[in-house]
């Protein structure tokens, strides 16, 4: 019984706490916009590193492909 009382009260406290951060932005006064000059310079956009291509499956002397290094080989060749 005591356990249930504590659980119920705790659940209400938790729900209260979880609802508070969501309500804050709605009630907070909007802050004045900073002048454009004070705004920090925008960081240069980093160029995306080139995507490494998985090496093409090597052909074995016998003409069959080696699936050893391929991430998703179409077919797994037996050893």
């Amino acid at each position: 019984m005591t356990n249930l009382k504590d659980k119920l009260s705790a659940s209400v406290r938790m729900a209260k706490a979880s609802q508070q951060p969501a309500e804050k932005p709605a009630t907070a006064k909007p802050t004045a916009a900073k002048p454009a000059a004070a705004a920090p310079a925008a960081k240069p956009v980093r160029a995306k590193p080139p995507v490494k291509k998985t090496p093409a499956a090597k052909s074995q002397p016998s003409g069959t492909q080696d699936s050893g290094n391929a991430l998703f080989p179409a077919r797994v060749w037996p050893d």
């Binding site: 009382k5 119920l8 209400v12 209260k16 609802q19």
Partner: protein, 211 residues
């Protein structure tokens, strides 16, 4: 004499707002002319009063659109008591105006964690309403209590987390409340079958009017 206005409000649907509002109005009608204002677009109060074989003891009116507390008081000043049955939305125009128009707000809460969580915004809404309606009193009302249920017994402690007064008078889970709605009457009109429920409503009225 100024009309005493009670708003029955909760953003949670199914908390028993209409049941409390209608039976409260029936009890108040024994003390003076009473009007129920159905602010819920679902129109359950109006439906309740219009489906009875016997006349409902209070007048029931439905209003919609834009209105304010002042015009409400003016239009219904002939009544001694007014009960506002609010829609299940605290942000609606009707609910905001109801909190500004009423002397007392009653918030029915079911013994269920889901109902408790859903009602947590109400204390803040009441505080906001007090900026325009400084004398507003608000009480939580425990509804559909089951005396042998552990969760019902745990409710008083849980409601303390709301930081709002809780009425000592409570409503038990009784089939007669649903039966009265079905017959379009109040529990006062249900004879001996409704006597225990009518006592509960009387206890609420005495506590609220005497508060």
């Amino acid at each position: 004499m100024a009309t005493h206005v009670t708003a029955v409000i909760n953003q949670k649907g199914g908390a028993g707002k209409t049941t409390l509002a209608m039976n409260l109005a029936a009890g108040l009608a024994r003390r003076g002319e009473t009007v129920v204002i159905d602010l819920d677009p679902q129109g359950s109060s109006l439906q309740w009063a219009s489906s009875g074989s016997k006349p409902f003891p209070a007048t029931v009116k439905q209003i919609g659109g834009k209105w304010d507390a002042r015009t409400l008081h003016q239009n219904y000043r002939a009544y001694r008591y007014m009960v506002l049955d609010c829609p299940p939305s605290i942000d609606s125009h009707a609910s905001v105006q109801a909190l500004q128009a009423c002397d007392v707000a009653l918030i029915p809460v079911l013994p269920s964690p889901i109902d408790l969580w859903a009602s947590l915004r109400l204390p803040q809404e009441i505080e906001d309403a007090r900026r325009a309606n400084a004398n507003l009193k608000a009480f939580l009302v425990l509804n559909q209590l089951e005396p042998k249920s552990a969760i019902s017994a745990a409710m008083h402690d849980a409601l303390a987390e709301f930081g709002m007064p809780v009425l000592a008078a409570t409503l038990r889970r009784r089939a007669i409340y649903r039966g009265a709605a079905l017959e379009g009457v109040s529990v006062y009109q249900m004879g001996s079958r409704g006597a225990s429920a009518a006592e509960e409503i009387e206890a609420i009225i005495n506590e609220v009017i005497g508060s």
